[in-house]
Symmetry: C2
Subunit: 298 residues, 2 copies
């Protein structure tokens, strides 16, 4: 499952991977990434297995899966065809939360002293490839804690001996938590289950302009409410009120630059511009189409 | 200015509009909306001047400006050509915060008992037109408090007398604050000053595909960092590292579906696909172009 596991609090500790597995926090016993391209990544383990990883607490730079020998060295290129890596791409494209489990083998301030600790939900805010320390291609994913994810506890570091004339404040900082790294603003918003259903029916192809945005490792679309949620529009959160659109058509729908006739003709700039593509599994709620049209009657 | 006024806390009260004016919280002495189409709306006053308004505390349905006679009745249609209304459209399209001042004349639980109260920052999450109570076209804007905006204090309501056999819990709720109305997820993210500069230079026209998304009352584009901010990419937040893109090209840039050669040729799906459009005022940082390209070398 994606998201928090019922009855498991952030900060929960497990002495072994098996116990974390049994709790449903991270199901595989070996793999660092749980998930598939189709579902997205459920969870990852941050445990120092990749030397290019970086852990800032609320920001993690996580190296993808693959290409290692038994000694933890990269010996070949990583690929987005790897199921775990493509799962993290889907998490990015769908804006889905990823559970983070930190292990005692991890480097830096935030690894638990022993065993494993569930540190709550993060989201993937960027990714990309580079040549890793060992000279092979690696994929890296930036994960950021959600605003309401508690900060992971930082380990106490032994205080460094200071020379008599050396100002203490100039020494290596002790147990201070690093400041939050400048956050990248996430332009992708989380897809709800209703939106994911509609996007799956249409295979991410825009119902208005027929575009599908293909990117390395996946494709991208947005679920768009026809009749907006909340007052004053009060649209329902149902598949009949959601369209699969490219981001451009989504902006135009929300700001009234496209409206639809009852026969699903698309009206753009006052002129007919094709017909909304439909699918037998996806019944569009005409009442919502009419409400949206009325909202932009000008 | 857009955003919080320095040294003014949310909850600050003013006995008159003039004092709020002098504090810089809401500068006009009469108008309900402060701002222009170019700048966006700085602030609004919620004071019951329009009978179609709705105030749920953290969500406000705010009727635009115009079309009233002196007695507060609509006597003609409102228009997005009105400067205040188009300012709120810009606030929506740019994702800019709007200061909310509530006045004692307002209806409902959240009006202050006397004078005016600054209730912090809200954002415009949707808008549209409809026939108002008086039968003329009005424009309405949904504003939502940011997650970190304190909830406005709700007035005490007199407790309703309950019949002896009537369960108290079935009575009209007393001074309880209404629950948060289902939030619409905002797909538009706030533009920083750097991004707004780049978008202004390019008049919201995509530098990659030349599209400008025109909507009623404005046009829309996104500022996109070429080299991503934060670890591991560590791009600078400068105009040289920002492009003006349509949302579709923004997704493709961030996920590596388009990269650029040093001569600014756009490469899409491995093939040249035009050239990045430039502007004499906008010098693009080639180091960022190269870093982005390296990130998607695969």
């Amino acid at each position: 499952m994606i998201g928090d596991v019922p009855n498991v609090e952030t900060g929960q500790e497990y002495s072994t991977r098996r116990l974390a597995h049994e709790a449903g926090v991270h199901r595989p016993l070996q793999a660092g990434i749980c998930g598939t391209k189709r579902t997205g990544a459920e969870s990852i383990v941050v445990s120092g297995g990749y030397k290019d990883d970086e852990d800032y607490g609320d920001v993690i730079v996580y190296t993808g899966h693959g290409g290692q020998n038994g000694a933890g060295n990269q010996v070949s290129d990583q690929s987005l065809d790897d199921s775990g890596n493509s799962a993290l791409v889907t998490s990015y494209l769908e804006g889905l939360p990823v559970r983070v489990l930190r292990g005692y083998q991890g480097d830096g301030l935030f690894a638990p002293a022993a065993g494993y600790r569930y540190d709550g939900l993060y989201r993937v805010t960027s990714y990309g490839s580079k040549l890793g320390i060992d000279g092979f291609l690696i994929w890296q994913f930036r994960l950021e804690a959600y605003d309401d994810t508690p900060a992971p506890p930082a380990a106490q570091q032994p205080e460094l001996p200071t020379a008599p004339n050396q100002s203490k404040s100039a020494a290596v900082p002790g147990n201070e938590t690093p400041e939050r790294i400048t956050s990248t603003v996430q332009r992708i918003v989380r897809s709800s289950a209703v939106k994911r259903q509609v996007k799956a029916w249409h295979d991410n192809r825009c119902q208005t302009c027929d575009l599908r945005i293909d990117v390395p490792g996946g494709s991208y679309s947005e679920g768009a409410h026809i009749r907006a949620l909340g007052s004053p529009h009060n649209g329902p959160d149902t598949t009949g009120n959601v369209l699969c659109l490219c981001p451009n058509c989504h902006v135009m729908l929300d700001a009234g630059a496209i409206i639809f006739e009852d026969d699903l003709t698309v009206i753009r700039g006052g002129q007919p511009a094709g017909t909304l593509r439909t699918d037998p599994r996806h019944t569009i709620d005409l009442e919502c189409i009419r409400h949206h049209r009325d909202r932009w009657r000008q």
